[in-house]
């Protein structure tokens, strides 16, 4: 491990490679999806999710938390919905 890290240090500084990698991932995302349209589907998605859940549980728009992590191989979309304390299905 030590030997390996020593060898790696001989190469050009890594931060430039990090910069390139970050740009490649980001730009791949921005170029696909055509930049404009892509960024705009999230508010609509959120609205639809809220509408769907509201059929069963009374929630507010603010109870929905959407997170995204864009990766090289795949991106993940994490949606957290805070249900009200007394959340029980309507009229079971």
């Amino acid at each position: 491990m030590n030997l390996f890290s020593f060898v790696r240090k001989q190469r050009p500084p890594q931060s430039a490679q990090t910069a390139k990698d970050r740009l490649q991932i980001l730009l791949a995302h921005e170029r696909s999806g055509g930049g404009a349209g892509k960024a705009d589907y999230l508010p609509m998605l959120q609205r639809d999710i809220v509408a769907a859940i509201r059929k069963y549980v009374p929630i507010e728009e603010k109870d929905v938390d959407v997170r995204m992590e864009r990766g090289e191989q795949m991106s993940s979309l994490e949606i957290n919905i805070e249900l009200p304390q007394a959340a029980s299905p309507k009229a079971g």
């Binding site: 910069a19 921005e30 995204m68 991106s75």
Partner: protein
């Protein structure tokens, strides 16, 4: 390093980082200053006002986590809380990214005011990263400011543009338009300062620049390799290990928060002797 959020009511100070000229280090400074404030324990949010040319997210290293943006919040498509990105390194720091797809007309004075009002109720410092130029984005970034950091390089076009921006700060802002209001506290942050070139007369000195702009000095950031390295990896320079630039930013941040820190001009390689000689000569 104190990162414990304070319990007292939020200070709610709005600081604009502006310059007029592009490429002088506004975003780098906004990132470093906001991280520096957060590191001192202040609840801090940094907002990108450069609509259409989002870049603060890359400098802060959160570009893959942007979901909603400033404009989504102004237009009511998302709640402020949902658009704020919590920094993974400092729990007192949040980032409000701008839109990459809209244009600057999406920024309305009312929308910006409303968002700042909400942020003031939660944060001690609201750092507004202005776009270059003096158009709408820049106007909106400075309009509601309490304080301004005018980022300037010791170079003729940058100093000229800074002078122009200082004029706008004292005329085209809410504080300027409100009679009886205290004017915006504007200070110069001199960046890309190269002591070696100053010593041989190739670069204007700190005093030269201050004499022309006639505003107080917030700090002097030396030209430093640490800046590009930090930007490569998406870390504000004050969080990316010790460097002359990081030290200079930390000093500037302490001055912003009211501490009386001696103005030292740290060279990247050999501080000490040169610094002392310069200190006496100027």
């Amino acid at each position: 390093m104190t990162t414990e959020p304070k319990n007292n009511p939020p200070l709610g100070r709005v600081i604009v980082i502006t310059s007029g000229k592009g490429g002088v280090g506004k975003t780098t400074s906004a990132a470093a200053i906001s991280a520096g404030l957060a590191k001192q324990g202040f609840r801090t949010v940094v907002i990108d006002f450069d609509v259409g040319l989002r870049n603060l997210d890359m400098i802060m290293g959160c570009e893959r986590r942007v979901v909603f943006d400033f404009i989504n919040v102004i237009q009511g498509d998302a709640k402020l809380k949902q658009a704020l990105i919590k920094d993974k390194r400092l729990d007192t720091l949040s980032i409000l990214p701008t839109s990459q797809t809209r244009d600057k007309d999406a920024l309305t004075k009312e929308g910006v005011e409303q968002i700042l009002k909400e942020l003031k109720a939660e944060f001690d410092y609201i750092v507004c990263d202005s776009p270059a130029g003096i158009e709408r984005g820049a106007q909106m970034a400075m309009y509601f400011a309490d304080e301004a950091v005018v980022v300037t390089n010791p170079e003729v076009s940058s100093v000229r543009d800074s002078d122009r921006v200082l004029g706008l700060l004292s005329s085209q802002t809410k504080r300027a338009e409100t009679s009886g209001a205290e004017p915006i506290k504007a200070q110069v942050l001199l960046t890309r300062y190269d002591q070696a070139r100053v010593d041989i007369g190739e670069m204007m000195t700190v005093d030269d620049v201050l004499e022309i702009l006639a505003v107080p000095l917030l700090g002097v950031i030396p030209e430093s390799k640490a800046i590009l390295r930090a930007s490569n990896v998406g870390t504000p320079v004050v969080l990316d290990g010790p460097s002359a630039a990081a030290q200079a930013y930390e000093d500037a941040v302490s001055r912003l928060t009211g501490s009386d820190v001696e103005m030292r001009i740290v060279g990247e390689r050999r501080p000490g002797l040169f610094q002392r000689l310069f200190g006496r000569a100027s």
